[in-house]
Symmetry: D2
Subunit: 385 residues, 4 copies
């Protein structure tokens, strides 16, 4: 409604501007009994954070998460998990020239047009910094899934930067290699070319677009609530919440346009368990809006980062002057490498939400014995004493 909440049974509510005091999120709908490792969250935040390499911005955000609620001795209690992340490295002064003179293709103008004002330091609420909340929440969803009876695996990698495309890689290769280089591309040769290309654009004071490929394995069949809560419609909403996305496709994607039905259709055969299974996966794991049990895969495209040092022209709506501006500072030349953990987080959130809605994970407690009252975890070592 107000754009600050994601999810239906597994709900994430966020706040925060890039240069405000802090970011934070509340994760509701976490089943009880999940052993929550703060370090898993921190590790994902570190993957997202700026300054990881030459081709990501050098802003010094430590991004330390602090869990405020929802735990007893390290296990979730079914009540909401509040998390806060302080903003440390906020130097707003240099954004003063843009207060009434919007930067090209940023949200400066639209936020002011909507609200009549805006938090103008950094990108304010429109900053990609907000995704720190999503990654933190996604890391909780990941731990819920990992400790459930299901074996869901989710991974993404960068498959295109500019005109450099990754070669074909298997899911196993993505799992193994995507985090080995700074562009997060599972094809090492393409990765090197991508990095060089990004470097080149950065050197020129410019930036470049790119794309991420993702895959979700082990998502059980029968999930999704057609028509308006179909799996593709919720995946699309999730991916398009990420800033600077211009395209989302799944399965055969855009090639669908030139594909014949006789090619696209997949016959049914029996698998080893005697279950019907489609021959092939052009359908991307979804038929009729519902999962088939086959891998879900797709691609997301980003336009280039709009903060570039090159001189650009704008107008000042207060003074009525036209003027030239330069967006100096610490900015990524390309978005997909740091977007990889964000895509994964949104997938964890979306998949877990569907699993809760589809009754595959009990909403109250992970061990699925509702109404039994058990002994609380480790009463002898109370957390707050």
């Amino acid at each position: 409604m107000n754009g600050n909440r994601f999810g239906r049974l597994f709900q994430v509510t966020t706040y925060g501007e890039s240069h405000g005091p802090g970011m934070g999120c509340t994760v509701s709908g976490v089943p009880a009994g999940v052993e929550l490792d703060e370090e898993v969250i921190q590790r994902d935040l570190d993957r997202r954070k700026p300054g990881q390499s030459m081709i990501t911005t050098s802003r010094g955000e430590p991004d330390e998460v602090s869990i405020q609620s929802g735990l007893q001795d390290g296990y979730t209690t079914g009540t909401p998990v509040g998390m806060t992340i302080q903003n440390k490295d906020a130097r707003s002064g240099k954004y003063e020239p843009f207060v009434t003179a919007p930067r090209p293709s940023h949200g400066d103008f639209t936020y002011s047009a909507k609200f009549g004002t805006r938090n103008w330091g950094g990108g304010g609420r429109s900053s990609a910094r907000e995704t720190v909340n999503w990654v933190a929440a996604g890391a909780i969803a990941k731990q819920v899934l990992e400790q459930s009876d299901h074996d869901v695996q989710i991974k993404a990698h960068v498959n295109q930067i500019g005109d450099v495309e990754a070669g074909p890689v298997t899911f196993e290769e993505i799992l193994e290699h995507s985090e080995e280089n700074e562009v997060r591309c599972a094809d090492p040769e393409a990765a090197e070319e991508m990095r060089d290309l990004a470097d080149q654009y950065q050197t020129e004071g410019d930036s470049i677009g790119g794309a991420v490929y993702f895959e979700c394995r082990g998502v059980p069949r029968g999930l999704g609530a057609p028509r308006f809560d179909s799996v593709p419609s919720r995946l699309a909403q999730a991916m398009y919440s990420i800033p600077a996305v211009n395209d989302f496709e799944y399965g055969i994607g855009r090639e669908a346009r030139t594909t014949a039905g006789s090619e696209y259709n997949e016959d049914w055969e029996f698998d080893d368990n005697g279950d019907p299974v489609p021959v092939g996966n052009d359908h991307g794991g979804i038929q009729g809006g519902i999962t088939t049990g086959q891998p879900i895969y797709g691609e997301v495209s980003w336009h280039p980062p709009v903060s570039i040092p090159k001189a650009q022209r704008t107008v000042d709506w207060e003074t009525g002057e036209e003027k030239e501006i330069q967006v100096v500072g610490r900015h990524d030349p390309v978005l997909p490498p740091r977007a990889v953990p964000v895509v994964e987080a949104m997938l964890y959130l979306t998949v877990l939400d569907f699993m809760l809605l589809g009754g595959r994970i009990n909403p109250d407690r992970l061990d699925d014995r509702p109404g039994e009252y058990d002994t609380p975890y480790h009463p002898s070592s109370p957390r707050n004493d």
Copy 2:
């Protein structure tokens, strides 16, 4: 939640299977005081309905809408508008072979896997017949917008079928020509080629994919609720609710991948009113998730219809047999032509919802004088006497 509701303030709730007694929808959040023309609704239903031409299925659905509530003397009263559309031409018998032997790439298997059963006549709930509800609701949204103080224009046309692409056309040409031919393509020459291609696939017992281009003009700046209710995220959800969609892009779309920031970024200048306006519209009318006031445009891709007469193989999960099936009957060889009114309907619903959420149209009454009690419309000619 259960997938049968779309929208936040302007809410559409639907029911119905293709071969059940009837379809229906409830439209909540219609401001009072809109003169509702049932014929406008009917006209859009007729654009969507089967049997319009050689290249659409010849099923004989009259699709007559009946308004059940929410009106006083032809004007909306602010209470929900219930609509029903009876199913007439339902011959379920021929679907009996598929009850436990799923058709390739349909929702047959996934619906059964989710629910353990399904309405197996036609496509049941997974049928595109459901979109009859969306078109009826969209026609109400259109009338609300038309009678508001705003000048919103929405139109779509088919811009690709197989490898035939429409040439460049202006929005005015789309408005003028897209309904002049049976493929709903505003480029008459491409339209002819598209029709021939569709005919050819149909003759071969096959089908083919395609795409629709859409544009929304006059959407005021400042709409959209970042981050999770940003305009792109809600448009994407809307488009991906339409069956058989594999790709949604807006603005420069997939080309974003190979675009440099210096090309993508659009300087600001003053327009004739002294308002900042971006030079160009690569951004597709949206920056930072919020509308700029420029046209919103994008493209949607469909995979080919999966109901094809060609012989295909499947398995019967009850008997354990493999077998060959043929999906005979009345089916479209290509989806985009009949999807055009559906895309437009989802756009009307989405845009109106954002305008209500952004306070541009009063939710209670169109004339924006809440708390004044007025004279009801035409008390001398009561509707129900």
Copy 3:
């Protein structure tokens, strides 16, 4: 949002005015595999409908429900159940005097103040006729619960009309006797006094208030999502949706004010299964907003029906005149007798919703085997052939 939807996972969306073409509702979130008996629905509608006795209005509404979707051979399919109920006995003409001259204490003025217009025949959307939808939906919820693994029992009866109060009755007596008399009071002597009192008010052209007591047995412990979706908060919302309600209390209710903690508190002991059980049920089945497994009980109070034949004064906002009016016609002298099935319906809807949210009933299918694809019901006798 727009007030036409109730429930979270089990969602009812309604439309309809008392004198419009028809009423209808869409029930989403019905698990698949429930054998739905249209007669059970009809029987509850008959209990609610006018003209059952001397003390209820004699309007001739047959209230025939027609199921439009969501079934295969009499079993639910997990897709929404659409229901329609035509309005038959609508004579709007006699309401013409009230178009701009509001009846005392009706919604005439407030509806017009909100929307600037209203459907002025009968009570329009504010009419208790709308509850026909709730009773129909509640009868579906009842059947879901009855066919589940749980043994939930819900029943209400009239426990006060004017100053006549029912004596103490057990739940078993309510189950057995409440439907035996026209006031629906399980205490036969009080029932007779209540009927006489109602008759007397009716004879005088007047009306009188009253109350309903309800009880829910077998609701499993551990339901409710504190804080804002606690069981009391959702029960209260449900009961206060019923027109003309002025009070809702549960457990010891208003007596809480003068009760000491040492009286109120209930020690814990072990029950026969070795489970902790509170000694007593002053807590009304709910502690900390969550069910204890003990019976949930409470009371709802109605103000008198506002449609009374006695002369009353009003003003005409169009003419500026003060004038005398009489609300002649067919109206109940007291609301609780016909409200009993409405209260029960809202309880069924609320309890089932909590059971779905708490994972006690699988949202996709009643038999709790998600992902298994089964044989559909009776493929040899297709419904729609």
Copy 4:
């Protein structure tokens, strides 16, 4: 859904346990341009906090609120306001005896039955400490209303403790006197009796119930979305979210039972502006679920605090033993005095939400000029530099 969110357009999402690291809430839907005074929030928190007087618990919670986001130079920006409140005075050790031996009439058992575990220090998530979030959020709603074009006034006072009832007081007296004594009763004589009674129960190691009366003036006519979002249904949900509530009534309340229609009904006359106005306000400001513009008033009853020093009996579900326990510590002998600011907060939240939904306050910005981009507040003194 998960019980941690309140509101529709003005949404409050909360987290926190009484003995966890901290409490927090995110307030979404705050229009831009509201000058937010942190001290107003703090003042309301101080009214709610423990240790204010002899008859409230002496726990030493400073309850200092810290705003994390949503502001530019002290004015709201339309983005969510995140607030955190650290827990300081948490001594969990003394709750160890209750880990598996539930305190009578607390949420100890039900939380464990629902989740299989719980945060057992203090009351965990079931603690009234959670209402600190509600009061903080309500103080924001209050400031939005105060700075709007409307003149809404909301105030509550304690009107009953045990058998001591306040005498009749006017709204002006409530405004003036309710905060002058420690029981927050606007009738000074009754206040003294109430305090003595509370002291007496406390001295005896016992506690006692009571009630709060509230009134909302200046709420414009035409608000409320019948049927399920009617004003009474949302008020009831709000009031019943407050812990330990057993009764909510509005208007004539429970007396409705014995009231005749001819007494209850209120004729219409013209007011000084020539608007229809009801003679009297037995209807409590609401007709047909929609506001009439008359004051909205009602009463809420609390059962006695369940934490009492008197010896009580319970069982330990781990050891299987029956045992005697004493809930020693710092606890209120009566709830209404500290509940007054909580009731007011829930009223501010509910009323503002209805005003946003009814289009009386623009959701994007308080000054109601959507689409104009203005100068941000005080660009020369950036907050975060």
